[in-house]
Subunit: 209 residues, 2 copies
DNA sequence: GTCGGAACTTACTCGAAGTAAGTTACTCGG
DNA sequence: CCGAGTAACTTACTTCGAGTAAGTTCCGAC
């Protein structure tokens, strides 16, 4: 049906930055609706009212376009969570606030999240490294929080901190996927509280090797 | 190059079960080497020394073949971990033994694991439900262990148990991926101990709502 | 031997990623 | 106002891989 945005006739040239943004927004929407595999470059081009080679000129490849979507969406998610964490009065509530912000954001932007779920698609070549880098910002945030939570009397073991940060990242991602596939999932609040209860004690009693 | 298995000339007919096994084994190998996207059905067919439609007749689609690989590999992994868990003398060591078995298996079968990493690819249609079902056996095992670990004086909240089981599943999967992408990852033993330390306390002090 | 079904193949269609080569519109110096 | 230069854009392909239609060959049972 190729509805552009309700304005078909006055489709003039636009400068590159504007067109790039337009394409990116359409791509986020369509990838979110139909998934990576279910979306063709022609679909995206048609939605913007433009031809496919233009999309290729600006984004290089389907992976490139998808990566751009992921990067932007994850950036927003990270900002939201980081804001919540930094606004918390102490370490304990920071952990909880971070979890809560994460699950709430994903509830409120289901389309964004369904793009991010597909992130794992890009396991081939340099795209894999790119998605790892994007996720790494989250892992860093978590690692910083973990350090804040650790008992101050013994120095942190970097391996342990990485292990814990990766664990928390993996746990929250799987929980998010699980919630979307469960008919009546527990509320963000309940999930965040349960995670907090599960982890809080352990973070204080970590033994060094 | 189409190397079958070092025996090209005597390629006779075989009964269905044998051929299916042969195809499945080749598929595991090739998917493991090149990933889902990087593998074509012609590749698999050629490796067995057979034509593509035969593969389709036996496995229906590329997703079907891939799913068959995942199912078998996850089954083995589950057996290994379940054995370790059941052999443990008590709840605390069962948790640790399960983690350890998990990471050791993946160290010893890197090719199997690289197939399982791609599991997330199948996010479309009925394949998504199928992969969820396969993973569900793991979640169940974890959920049972969590119940064993819970303090007996208050009844378990099913939501909480699901949340925890999903978390642990997600954490171990992300850790496994992370370990494969890290030059010198911590040993399975260290990872298992850290996870155990992180979770053990929290599992005992879970509050009901 | 021949008949029936199971194992297997050749030779396609179709859809989507990616590209080569060209065309149209805007813009800026004269 | 006008022509060149360039950025925005298109048409018309190629290529590759998933999936399929329509057979053909082998083998065992009667």
């Amino acid at each position: 049906m190729t509805s552009t945005t309700a304005t078909d006739p006055p489709k003039r040239r636009r400068d590159r930055a504007a067109r790039e943004r337009e394409i990116l927004e359409a791509a986020e929407r369509i990838f979110g609706d139909r998934g990576y595999q279910g979306t063709s470059m022609d679909d995206v081009a048609a939605a913007v009212g433009v031809s496919k080679p233009l999309v290729y000129q600006y984004y290089g490849s389907k992976d490139g376009l998808f990566l751009a979507c992921i990067t932007r969406l994850r950036g927003r998610l990270l900002d939201t969570v980081a804001d919540a964490v930094l606004a918390a009065p102490n370490a304990e509530s920071a952990l909880y606030a971070g979890f809560l912000a994460w699950f709430r954001f994903l509830d409120e932007h289901p389309q964004a999240w369904s793009v991010l779920i597909d992130e794992n698609l890009l396991n081939a070549g340099p795209a894999a490294e790119a998605t790892d880098e994007i996720r790494a910002a989250f892992i860093d945030l978590i690692a910083r929080m973990v350090r804040m939570n650790l008992p101050p009397d013994h120095p942190a073991d970097d391996d342990q901190i990485q292990i814990i940060a990766q664990s928390i990242s993996g746990a929250t991602e799987r929980l998010a996927i699980w919630r979307t596939r469960t008919p009546t999932p527990p509320t963000p609040d309940k999930v965040a509280r349960t995670l907090q209860d599960l982890l809080w004690q352990g973070l204080h009693t970590l033994k060094n090797p």
